[in-house]
């Protein structure tokens, strides 16, 4: 879509294959529109377009024989650069067990992702232990128990039903006792503006000292992605992002917004409701999807 838009702009400059700064501005307006329609946050778009402008008004680009390709190339490069280097999740830290905290807004896919992650780790020869510390939502603990039993995954369900931190701590103790190397903690969905629940995250973290804090976000999120991810990061120091429901047709601009504001990579994409529907995040595929 972006490529086609550029072709129209540059086709409009009949006979003139070389770029003028004015043509670059027209192209930048199209880039801005494409990214906004893809749900990238408008402030992130502004900063991004400024970066592209700096590179595009370079003499090499302006004098190039294929200006449209040049500008599209710059946009692709800058997007890929933003998504950053992939880093291994659950690398060896020597800590046993490793503790992964899944956090995020209501309904983003944390519980499903917890089960998928356990399945993923098991396929890599690890021994994960799942625990739900969602003591709030009706049947949340049951939901994880059912997913675990359907997949023959170990799920810890202590008698403790009041304190999320105590449930998490109990799971870590069980993991140590029984030789599980990773504890996956599924937390309750919460609003970043709910101070009581954001403080609960501090309590859980204090109790189990997580090695990973994964922010689970819905790929169809719009402009608000920056606010929620930003606040979760400020309160809970996110170490990685999981983008869910990528099997839908949302353009996924929230991915760019979140990475821009949190500054850590997206580690996984959720691409369906089944246990195996978890993939390593592929930045190049995301960029193609975002540019339509």
């Amino acid at each position: 879509v972006l490529g086609n838009r550029f072709r129209d702009i540059f086709a409009g400059i009949r006979g003139e294959v070389r770029l003028t700064p004015a043509a670059v501005e027209a192209a930048l307006r199209e880039i801005r529109l494409a990214l906004l329609e893809a749900d990238v946050n408008f402030k992130v778009v502004k900063a991004f377009v400024a970066r592209v402008r700096d590179r595009a008004v370079d003499r090499k680009v302006l004098d190039s024989l294929t200006p449209a390709q040049q500008v599209v190339g710059i946009v692709r490069d800058e997007l890929l650069a933003l998504f950053g280097k992939q880093r291994p999740v659950f690398g060896a830290t020597g800590r046993r067990p490793q503790v992964v905290l899944l956090i995020g807004l209501q309904g983003s896919g944390k519980t499903t992702t917890a089960a998928k992650l356990a399945h993923w780790l098991r396929r890599q020869g690890r021994r994960p232990l799942l625990v739900s510390v969602d003591v709030r939502r009706p049947a949340a603990v049951e939901q994880l128990a059912v997913l675990g039993s359907q997949a023959d995954l170990a799920v810890h369900d202590p008698a403790e039903r009041e304190s999320a931190a105590a449930r998490a701590r109990s799971a870590v103790e069980q993991a140590r006792a029984d030789g599980f190397d990773t504890v996956i903690v599924d937390t309750a969905g919460r609003l970043h503006v709910d101070d009581v629940l954001m403080s609960e995250l501090d309590e859980i973290a204090a109790a189990v000292d997580p090695t990973e804090r994964l922010y689970v976000a819905d790929a169809m999120t719009g402009q608000d992605a920056v606010k929620s991810a930003g606040e979760f990061h400020r309160r809970a120091a996110i170490t990685g992002i999981v983008l869910t429901k990528m099997d839908g047709d949302a353009r996924g601009g929230a991915a760019l917004s979140i990475v821009a504001v949190v500054g850590v990579p997206i580690v996984f994409s959720g691409c369906g409701e089944r246990l195996e529907d978890l993939e390593s995040f592929a930045p190049d595929r995301m960029v193609s999807r975002m540019l339509g």
Binding site: E142, V146, L191, D218, T221, G222, Q223, K245, D249, R251
Partner: protein, 274 residues
Amino acid sequence: NEGAAADRRATADSIEEVLLEADVGVAAAARIMAGIDAEAAAAGGPPLRGRVRREMLRILSAPPPPPPVAASPRVVLVVGVNGTGKTTTVGKLAALLQREGARPLICAADTFRAAAIDQLAAWAQRAGVDMVKARAGGDPAAIVYDAIDAARARGRDVVIVDTAGRLHTRSDLMAELEKIRRVASRAVAGAPHDVLLALDATVGQNGLVQARQFLERAGVNGIVLTKIDGTAKGGIAVAIACELGLPIRYVGVGEALEDLLPFAPDAYVDALFT
């Protein structure tokens, strides 16, 4: 004069940013601003912001719904993509309708999601409303049929159906909704009378795609905008009202039983500009 035009341009830009940040979307925001620009330039009248607010109120204020046909029972379907708050909304809606004097029955037609029925049963208990679930096998349409039967047998006048979350891109799952509609319409004249699309207030432009698809395949005739107690404004509902004429019927304002309110356009527009 140039100064005034520049000022108006700056104000228009900042208003357009408010609309964009609220997820109203580029196209709908441009349509709203174009309409305003024309009249402001002509009349030089009241401030731009007031005109935009009036225009949005006009878009969002649906004509009052026709008086409900005396249907027995009335059938309400709650549909939408995954995680938008359908199950919670069904519980809240049952409580709300009961407070208004109705005698609701809840129908658990999500046979897929782990512990979905337990989750809805908890809500039914909190609301003090009966729930009908699968006897065995679990074809959602069959459960809806059973619930309508049960409602007649027990003298209930409205059946509220919780359905499984589904992406509009899954044609097989959308076909399942079409089947539920067909079965309901055969059981009660005019059913389903309300098909509410649960839309997460945080959704971006994909919300418009969802609305188009669910309108076409599930016959959606209203929207419940959930999680509006967060910081997201759910502005895609404005684009949806603009393009598809779908009214917002309720807003979800939290995770407790009483956290469902009838939609109030002026409160919504005020909050959008705050």
